[in-house]
């Protein structure tokens, strides 16, 4: 079980640093088609910020902000964005993830529709990678035993 850190330097530095890490992760996701990065890399940085928060502020505090159920919902939601955009292109008469077809419903030229489609797919990938990375770290740090299991409440209700 990871408890809150005793060291005030570690706690303060991580509390100051976590919002900047998240803004940088959003920049990497949004700017992925002009510079190094993209959905996966931005999602990894976003997950790393939550892992830093969990390490320095303990498991209980991190569970209040990002519970296991919320992380599961986020991972499926990101996958839904990805496959939804892909299937929308399929419905509109193109191939899977053929973003040029989105121009008919977005009312823009096809080149701009491709840029927006790639951005949407990268946001979906980023959300999924963030949620899965954090939930893997969460499961490892709890050792597979959640506190509600110890209290005899049975399995969670997701």
């Amino acid at each position: 079980m990871i408890n809150i850190s005793d060291d005030i330097i570690t706690r303060t530095v991580s509390r100051v640093l976590v919002p900047f890490i998240q803004i940088y992760a959003l920049y990497v996701i949004m700017h992925g088609h002009h510079s190094p990065g993209g959905g996966f890399q931005g999602g990894v940085i976003l997950g790393a910020s939550f892992i830093l928060y969990l390490i320095t502020h303990g498991l209980e505090d991190a569970k209040k902000r990002m519970s296991e159920l919320k992380m599961g919902l986020f991972s499926t939601f990101g996958l839904l964005i990805y496959s939804g955009i892909g299937l929308l292109c399929l419905i509109l008469g193109g191939n899977y993830l053929d973003y040029g077809r989105l121009s008919t419903i977005l009312k823009v030229i096809p080149a701009q529709a491709r840029s927006l489609g790639i951005l949407g797919v990268e946001i979906g990938v980023g959300i999924t990678v963030m949620a899965v990375m954090f939930s893997i770290f969460f499961d490892i740090s709890t050792g597979g035993v959640l506190p509600e299991d110890e209290e005899g409440l049975g399995t969670s209700d997701e």
């Binding site: 990871i2 850190s5 940088y24 190094p36 390490i55």
Partner: protein, 79 residues
């Protein structure tokens, strides 16, 4: 070129170093040197704006890795 030699000196300390704390410090120092090498490569290829992004992520993950290793020692992991 001097930086590359220093990376190998730190790698020696990281592999054969006595104790886990020397190894953590050596890995952290290697990460910092890699960051500077990445920026110098950016100047060589005239694409500093690209390499600054990569080196920032490298510094960030290096910091989180060191904190995690220190936390592992704090909660009573095996040395």
């Amino acid at each position: 070129m001097g930086l590359f030699a220093l990376v190998f000196l730190c790698l020696y300390r990281g592999i054969f170093g006595p104790g886990i704390l020397n190894r953590i410090a050596a890995i952290s120092a290697i990460g910092t040197k890699t960051l500077v090498i990445l920026l110098i490569m950016g100047f060589i290829y005239n694409r500093v704006d690209m390499f600054v992004d990569i080196s920032m992520v490298y510094a960030l993950l290096n910091f989180i890795g060191t904190i995690t290793a220190a936390k592992y020692l704090e909660i009573g992991g095996e040395v």
